[in-house]
Amino acid sequence: MINLTGETTSHLTRLSKDDSRVIGYRLIRILLLLMVLPYASETHAAKPTAEPPIRIGLTPVFLDDQANFVNDWRDYLGRHLERSVVFVQRGSYREIVDMLREGKLDFAWLCGYPYVRNKQHFRLVAVPLYQGEPLYRSYLIVPSSDKQTRSLADLRWKIFAFSDPDSNSGHLYTEYLLAKQEESPSSFFSRTFFTWSHRKVVEAVASGLAQGGSVDGYVWDTLALSHPELTSQTRIVNKSPQFGHPPFVTNTATAKRDIAAMQRVLLHMAHDTDGLRLLKNLNLDGFVLGENRLFDGIEEMAKFVGNRKNDAPQRP
């Protein structure tokens, strides 16, 4: 288990440091305000846009296709950060990862797999709490019409759907299981394809296009609440051990003050009604600061798969 109390204490000390800084900024701001007094009202109104917006990259580690909810959440964050917030959504994890590395994003909600691969560039901000823990699983699903399949081994020569090549639950875990048997997806399955979203893996398996799929367990559970007619067309064959839940990360260039503000707002969500409502929609219990140890399991699997890939002769 993770020592949450220790993290929280250090966070609190950091906060107090930041507070003194904020006070300093405020003094300067008051001086500036006095200088531009005739235009005070306009400047004040323009204040939120004066600073560049916080850019947060989103990936389909949650149900990111609910435009209304995403807008509500953006407004909530903007209100509490006292900054305008921009959400950036892209077709794949890789694009978000690249944007964050290049500094085109300040934060991103990523999968644990790309996080561990870019550990030297990224910093952990917060980890969601799912069913009271910052953990989740990967599900192996098949169409509900398939009554025979008992394990991954039964899916040899079948058509298999992955969500994203950079997803842990939707790709790496299955790849790791196969690698342990000295197999790879291309050798084990007759055909594989990526749907670029966990939800669409469920759809692909439900429609029968794929005979099996790897999906984020948290996303599947959340879909089962909102769209039971979709998940009921699939059957969970296997649940993986627990891994660290896809975390909020930032790059090394982001100002500590912004990181702290973001951490404060995310952690505070569980303590006000608007935040609780949003969390309920996300099917999450809240956010914690989390620690890197959570993602050790993913890192091990990534290393194992990576080594095997390097050992194996490259496919043309």
Partner: protein
Amino acid sequence: MMRLKDLSLKDLSLKYKVPLRVAVLVIVTAIVLTATLIYRGIDDLRYNLIVNADKMGRVIANTLVEPMLHDDVWRSFEIINTPFRVSGLQTPDQEAGYILILNGSNNVYASTKPDRFPMLKDPATIDTRYTELLKALPDFQSTLTAIVELDKPDDLFLLIPIQTEQMRIGTLVMSYPKSPFTSRFYRLAKDAVLITLLVLAVLLPVSIYWGKKMAAPLLQLSDAMSNITPSLQEPGVIMLEESNDEIGRLGKSFKSMIAELKEKEDLQHQVIASDRLAAIGRLAAGIAHEINNPLGGMLNSISTYKRHGTQDPFTLKTFSILERGLIQIKETVAALLVEAKARSHPFERNDVEDICTLINADVRSKHVSFTHENDIIDTQALPSTLVRQVIINLLLNAIRETQEYGHVHLHIYRDRGNLVIDVSNNGSYIPPDKVAYLFEPFTTLNDSGSGSGLGLWVIYQITLQMGGLITVQSEPDETRFIVQLPLQDDRR
């Protein structure tokens, strides 16, 4: 009697033939129209379906190029699935059964029915029709759409090449079930049957009415024709609708034919009657002459004997009886042999008044009311003796033949060179079949035996000799004798 087997279709009444023909016409028209409309409707539906499907297929095929080049099965699947996600908005007639993407080697790349057409399978192993279907694939370089209807026509297939840079990377197969065609066919056929029944419901009563209307005059005509034989009817009795169409003209011709026949028949009767009268006249004159010669001798002998013979009372009595008998014979013969040569003064107004005075006794004894109109002012160029005899005979006849307390009327007037004597009474109807014998001697209408039986014979003979004309008009409540005598001065 008409046996059942003789009752063939052509023997049917027009009342049934006309509605039957109308029904047959309506049904034939409806069948021809319906067949044309159904053919057009289904052809249009097929054309629209192919045009729309081709347009949609080309859009889909173009969109598929990139995901297929990137081997993105999921996006390809999502693209071909799009039409099915909004299928609720589409008209069910034009919904594709399923869409299939075949890769370069004609195996399934993706399909909207993954259960039936799983990825990577050869479609010919799933549905044998694909062996034949794939033969219809357009040429490798062609961008044309191939439209395939297989022999067992359940489905219509559109094969659209997925091409990039003149290179085919796959084929889009769109399958359309034909059930919409059959359902459209049944819908159209059902509507047509309903409308036909509706039209028949309106037209049949109308045609039944027409049939009756057409049959009625023909039936009347045929009834009238079958009634010709015993005796000709008066043309006015035949009730036929007057019109200028064929049936109306037939009726008119029939009426005029009846009228002509009737005229001919009347003329024939007149000729027969006058021939007979002439023969009787000749016979009577011949007999009269033959009787008159010995009669004159006998009467002379009796007169001579009375003057110069013995005055034996018994003989005288006998001769006197003989003489009276012979005189009666002479009178009778004289009456038969009407002589129009008697010379007398011209007929004048006073002659009529005299006659009225003369017949007064008879008028009173029969309690008849007698009226007369005398339109004669001056003297007429006619011998008064003969005219008076005619008038007296006519009046006596009329008084005798009318009923008790009856009425007799005399009217004398001039009319275009004729003296017209018009005597009418009420009652004493003369049936038409007796008119022909009316003027023969010793003809009586009733069996009472009153009268000499020579009154009308004398009138006829006098009128005939004076070149006149007698007309008899007899109706149940009035009988009228009109004698027209041409004035001798005017004739010359």
